[in-house]
């Protein structure tokens, strides 16, 4: 839907089918049972990125001034914001749902179709939310890790959310002529890639096994989005299985000490 919009309902149906086929209830011990297939897809995505997306976004960043890029990014975010509002309510976050609805209303009108992020200045900050988070909060396990064509990292639990974000985008329901939707798709691809540039640079610089670096980072990040700060670090015992304790173990790590 991002580059290839006309899948429409088919994609959403396929997503749901995949969810049931892979079995949403069983949480595997190994979070990545399809690693071999995923690595192939990862390399395909990476190849597309190097051959097309990165050069495209480099040109975009070079010729489009920053305020324009920011405006476009804001507008794309605003179009996707119905998805955030819907999921706020699905998770029972009524106050945040209304605040986010206010944000979208303000930015769509005063902010001229979302180009100017007026709402943040009016104390209606941006939130992130999607149907994958909702399913997680409802108790669904993530299921196997997947690398989706073009979209990249996901888990089975995130797949239906792709459909939800597609149908909650107002543009999905409008018949945008191909002559307009193709350049928009290209612009959005360029903008998205530009937003990701620093992260991908960091991956290329820091990763020893980039595939695992991305997978672990993604799984952790989603866990944190769903569980909040309860998910703060590695498994218990991570910090002492490496060596015998050289320090006396002191009080449990619960209190916050203020500076003096």
């Amino acid at each position: 839907m991002w580059l290839l919009r006309p899948w429409r309902v088919g994609a959403a149906t396929a997503a749901c089918a995949l969810l049931f086929l892979t079995g949403c209830g069983t949480y595997p011990q190994n979070p990545d049972p399809y690693e071999r297939l995923n690595r192939v897809m990862y390399n395909v995505n990476d190849g597309i990125d190097k051959a097309a997306l990165k050069p495209l976004s480099d040109v975009y960043v070079a010729i489009v001034p920053k305020p324009v890029r920011q405006g476009l990014g804001n507008a794309f975010n605003n179009l996707g914001y119905l998805n955030v509002i819907l999921n706020d309510f699905l998770q029972g976050k009524v106050d945040q749902g209304f605040a986010d609805a206010g944000r979208m209303a303000v930015n769509s009108t005063v902010g001229v179709a979302g180009i100017f992020d007026v709402a943040t200045k009016w104390n209606l900050p941006e939130h992130k939310n999607d149907f994958g988070i909702t399913l997680g909060k409802w108790g669904a396990e993530p299921g196997p890790y997947l690398v989706l064509p073009l979209f990249g990292p996901a888990t089975v639990r995130d797949v239906p959310g792709r459909g939800v974000s597609m149908v909650t985008n107002p543009l999905y329901w409008v018949d945008v002529p191909l002559a307009a939707s193709i350049p928009m798709g290209v612009l959005e691809a360029a903008q998205t890639r530009a937003d990701l540039n620093d992260l991908l640079k960091f991956r290329d610089e820091a990763a020893i096994d980039p595939y695992v670096f991305v997978r672990e980072g993604y799984l952790n990040y989603r866990r944190r989005q769903i569980q909040g700060t309860k998910a703060t670090g590695p498994a218990p015992g991570f910090y002492d299985e490496d060596e015998p304790a050289t320090q006396p173990t002191t009080r449990p790590a619960t209190e916050r000490v203020t500076a003096r």
């Binding site: 839907m1 991002w2 919009r5 975010n77 179009l79 996707g80 998805n83 992130k128 999607d130 979209f151 990249g152 996901a154 995130d158 959310g161 974000s165 597609m166 985008n169 959005e188 998205t192 937003d195 990701l196 620093d198 992260l199 640079k201 960091f202 610089e205 020893i208 096994d209 595939y211 695992v212 670096f213 997978r215 672990e216 980072g217 993604y218 952790n220 990040y221 866990r223 944190r224 703060t232 670090g233 590695p234 991570f238 910090y239 002492d240 299985e241 490496d242 060596e243 050289t246 320090q247 006396p248 173990t249 002191t250 009080r251 790590a253 209190e255 916050r256 000490v257 500076a259 003096r260």
Partner: protein, 230 residues
């Protein structure tokens, strides 16, 4: 239409992943582990290290090689590379010979220093502010920091949170892990090393690590050549 998955990853990016990595505290002499004063010492160590590292990264007069070298000095003071190496490698550490352990720490240190020294420009304008700390098991100490970027109108805006985990050894607090928005760098590295070792063994792991370090050095050389060539 918006690629939500990419966006979640982009949000990860919003936390300046690199600046905090370079935020290496200065050496400090700390009182006994149970002394409440040790909390303040660990905090000061983080604040000081952040300040020193960012000053070097922002210095326009330093070449990339010089930056790497100076960041390396701060990192040696601030990071307990041996403990980080054990944590990052996990169980295979015990299988290494003493010579291999030494080589691992050496190559791994080079890698970490290079990541710090090559922080993208976008991250260097950010401020790091200590937001609190807490005692952990084994006498470790975690220092919470907030990363502040600048909005268009110049007001600071929080772009991420980074926790430094410090361990006291030989009377000094030194970093043993970073936690970026809930992601432990040491744990992430352990998963990467495990994947490489299970596919290609310890030798392959060393090979990959050496290749990374060579790539970093070549990148430094190429960047400095490009600037002096102008």
């Amino acid at each position: 239409m918006k690629c939500a998955i990419f966006c979640t990853v982009a949000a990860l990016c919003a936390a300046p992943l690199c600046a905090p990595l370079c935020a290496a505290p200065a050496p400090s002499t700390a009182p006994a582990a149970n002394d409440p004063g040790s909390a303040a010492t660990a905090r000061l160590a983080v604040e000081e290290g952040v300040r020193r590292s960012l000053a070097i990264l922002r210095d326009p007069n330093l070449s990339r090689a010089e930056k790497s070298q100076r960041i390396g000095q701060i990192a040696d003071d601030a990071i307990d590379f041996e403990t980080v190496s054990r944590l990052a490698l996990g169980p295979p550490w015990k299988q290494l010979t003493d010579a291999q352990k030494e080589e691992f720490v050496r190559e791994f240190r080079k890698h970490v220093v290079a990541i710090c020294a090559h922080a993208p420009d976008g991250y260097r304008d950010q401020q790091v502010e200590v937001a609190g700390d807490k005692q952990e098991e084994r006498g470790d100490w975690t220092v919470h920091t907030r990363i502040l970027g600048k909005q268009d109108d110049g007001t600071p805006k929080e772009t991420g949170q980074v926790d430094f985990r410090l361990r006291r050894r030989d009377g000094r607090w030194r970093i043993i892990d970073l936690n970026l928005e809930g992601i432990s760098i040491a744990a992430n590295l352990r998963a990467q090393f495990q994947a490489i070792i299970s596919n290609g063994g310890i030798d392959r792991m060393f090979q990959v690590l050496r290749q990374r370090d060579e790539a970093h050095e070549n990148a430094d050389r190429a960047a400095d050549k490009a600037t002096t060539g102008k």
